[in-house]
Symmetry: D2
Subunit: 326 residues, 4 copies
């Protein structure tokens, strides 16, 4: 099996993915998309930034939008379990020769800034400002009724290497796509919080952020969003779906924000807390892997992604090709 065995006792305890910071070129346009259309809740806004949370979340934010000259993904944030985990994380990254900094971040306690070996900017923290629950304030629900951030998906030029590193961090692989001929990983889904993934890696020029996903209550919320976007000027922002993923079994939709950042709307994968959960293998040649119902993804979905700030791009050396919509 090309997937390394999970590490039962990782060097520090990552609870879950937490937040992403996007550079956006038109803050008002992004607000119309994320707030008025998707239905995320504003927890802070000023002249050049907007912080958002989803309906179930009590942490201050899961997305920070920052006015920028160029669209980019600035950082991926993860919540750690306890304060000593932060120090253990520092030691771990330092030991790998990776850059580590303790930084000040609004709404967050001690924050460690670093990068993974492929250049993905990461930050770790334990405490973020907690806000009162709003998940039963149903008058606030709008758009796709986003409940929580679910996962990040990244292009990786060497998925085997990314999976090896994130396995060392304690992420456990739930499903993966293998190139039958070379035995190389073409994609992998890895979790900490008990769902199919907190992070996933897809073969391609990397590192780039493929998408950030939000969890919604059921497929009808996704259909409502499609109807809304289609009749409010966003029909061109619908990229792929709706459909059922073979991998993860989730009902999905992919849309693009005004800067092209890709957002997945995601519903109903499965529980993965068992440490002995066997990863599910898919062949790159199986079209149902992408969409159980058979429809292939469009070319843009395989090729386009958000650049990480100051990360050097490396092309993938895999030559196998997925099935792409004609």
């Amino acid at each position: 099996m090309p997937v390394p065995a999970p590490v039962l006792y990782p060097p520090f305890n990552i609870v879950r993915l937490s937040h992403v910071e996007y550079g956006v070129t038109d803050l008002a346009a992004s607000r119309a998309f994320y707030v008025d259309t998707l239905g995320l809740q504003v927890t802070h806004e000023d002249g050049d930034s907007i912080y958002l949370r989803a309906m179930e979340e009590r942490g201050h934010h899961c997305i920070a939008l920052r006015q920028a000259g160029t669209a980019c993904a600035r950082v991926l944030g993860f919540k750690l379990y306890d304060e000593p985990d932060l120090d253990r994380a520092e030691a771990f990254f330092r030991g790998k020769g990776l850059p580590v900094d303790w930084i000040e971040r609004p709404y967050m306690g001690r924050t460690l800034r670093t990068r993974d070996p492929f250049g993905v900017p990461l930050e770790f923290y334990v405490k973020m400002d907690r806000l009162p629950p709003i998940h039963q304030k149903y008058a606030l629900y709008r758009g796709v009724k986003p409940l929580r951030i679910d996962h990040f998906n990244m292009f990786a030029s060497d998925v085997d290497a990314s999976v090896a590193f994130y396995t060392e961090l304690g992420f456990r692989t739930t499903e993966y796509t293998e190139d039958d001929e070379t035995g190389k990983l073409w994609a992998a889904w890895m979790h900490r919080k008990g769902g199919v993934h907190d992070v996933a890696f897809t073969n391609g020029t990397g590192p780039r952020l493929h998408h950030t996903a939000f969890w919604v209550p059921n497929p009808l919320a996704i259909i409502d969003l499609l109807d809304l976007m289609s009749t409010t000027g966003y029909v061109g922002n619908i990229e792929r779906g709706p459909g059922r993923h073979g991998i993860s079994n989730a009902f999905f939709l992919y849309i693009r924000d005004p800067d092209g950042h890709r957002i997945e709307i995601y519903s109903s994968d499965y529980q993965t807390v068992d440490p002995d959960l066997e990863p599910i293998r898919w062949s790159l040649t199986d079209p149902q892997r992408q969409t159980l119902w058979g429809a292939p993804a469009p070319r843009s979905w395989f090729e386009e992604g958000s650049l990480f700030e100051a990360a050097e791009l490396v092309e993938s050396r895999l030559t196998a090709q997925p099935i792409i919509a004609p």
Copy 2:
């Protein structure tokens, strides 16, 4: 406006579309599709035919499947209001110089067999054997939970002519697609029973049956069918969707039976009983007409259909082209 005004007092009273008879080349394969997968209920079967009804229907059948050497659509059936309507129908068709016959049909009372001017085989009746209600026998619900037959869609080589004829029969146009340049109709949706359509016409080599549609309770039934077909060997029978039609506003899916007969699964259009309901116009160049969410239909959807038995084909002379999935 290219759509003729509705005829408020038509020559005879058609209540609704009623049933279709398909010639199928492998009755067992058709049974697996219509009964085991879609969930239609068998009301009679013998060595060479199967009669089916949907869950809400009390008439004996909405589909008759007949073992045949070649796949075809044999006849479209319509229910009339009262016995005198049958005689008025005979007079009407005879007056147009069209063939009329009183035929014997199992499970049906007096039955008039004829063809429309374009060759579509039609039959009209008032009485069909009535069966006990099963719509609350929930243990029988299977597959897509089909509730009732909803409409027929036909390829017509001259949609304007078809609309003119069916308007004379009392069908009222609810929506239509116009070729902006020529002002010709490209497609039209016409009803008797108070929904968006009992019959629709689409430009193309005709007459051919484009599809028969079944009404289902909600989009989740369609998602369930997609999941089922995708994992029971029918993934190749999924042709288009799921999606929201711009025209009709219905949530839809198109699938193909083992002979290629196209079935639409259809949910939630709108009520059209007002005789002064204004038809909605769509431009052939508007892609949201087909799918509100923007995805174009595949080429097969525009080109393939079921032949009517003994009907002579005529090519359309329209040169305008819809947007087709690349």
Copy 3:
């Protein structure tokens, strides 16, 4: 069978129920309920009245709310097929010795005002101002996403007599509840437009309006409304449900407006256009008649209703009792 046979050729052609006018004691409170909570669309408002339509409707209004000293139901409106039907209706009611007046009504053409023999105020018209479609303006959808008015339910002191009269008007009975001992009707559901009912009658002191119902797309819209009402100060306005009716097979919820007028939210009954559709009989002693899942209705549901303006009340002489929640 205690239900009279349907009249195939009624004296005039009623298309469907159309609208209700309510006297309300606090227009602002009613607006908060009908517009902000249910999601009906305002088509006109001024100091003392608000007109509303549902999302699918193109007629100007299905509810008129009028500021009044006392809460009441002022009139039930029905749409007729063609202008001559209005004159035939006048002749019919006049011939029965019932009061007839041609009145002026805003947004409506020629309007005939009358009462049924039991005192229910009725108005008939053919033309009402038509508004542009909004059913695909998804940004307007709110609350329970009401699609269209569905039916009126009235308390009648003699249900057999009410059913006899409305049968004469062309309404066809789809389901009914019979008192097994006396053979008297306890309730009946009667339609014109092809669903389970446009009007229903329930045994009790009458005439009173039991409720007005709105059709919604699916059960999840009803669950959304329950969540919204429960967290915006309307939890006390929830009276019964959600549940599946045995009768009609619809998924339902009953709520009360700020004046106590009862509104049913109603989803998914079945098609009834066949003139030979056999009515379904239910016994008064069968609790699944009310709610298929077994839960009985509360006492208020059997006893409370809106008074019709200037209608004299008559007590029912039936002594049989339905099953009431303890």
Copy 4:
């Protein structure tokens, strides 16, 4: 706050609740309920026992039904993280003076049998036979489409004491009901696996098992089950719901198996993996705590439960009373 602070580093690592064993008096009747009606999958059956799993589960079973002279709950099972956790668990329970035994269980590896201080029979294991995934074998989905076991709810005569003990085991309280006058806990919800609960405690004569819950994909699956049970002879087994819980925000239904064992069907609570998640407090006098929509639970729900084998009952000394349906 009456809820003790969570223990971040518990004495051994419980992954999740795993399974329950019920004594049932008529195995065939239980099979009809759990398999044919709910849709659980048989993984083993013989003359006197049936093992079942839900659609998402890869462990061998989540319920074992055992033919017995008297209905009872025999044991609640929990999965531990790693083999050393089993030994730590033994030391922990032994240190408390509680009975510990290493027992042989079919389909399971090393298994520790013990009881909590209140008499609830518990078993812990790390390895259970793993079965191939079936969550995408959609042809197997039946009934309510049960995806996985979600939680146990127990009557406890001293909820404060139960919460103190389970907190020590590492369970974290997410929500709780407090008696305003005494400050005593009336109920509490506690988790290990990242949802609202793996175990809950409700005030009452204890220890008894109040219910076992199964997670389903969405509210429509619950509506389908209600329709099915109502028309297949199980209408009397529907006890409470459907509704939205105030506590947990889940959409729920309570049903009783042929022996009266209570099963909850449960959908869509929220993610609770953050170790600093603040518990939500509810007052015993708030009826929306039970059902957000206001409907109180019936008396049976507060009073009836399954006896644990060989556990001595203790009456609660709390005198506060919840709101009970009249």
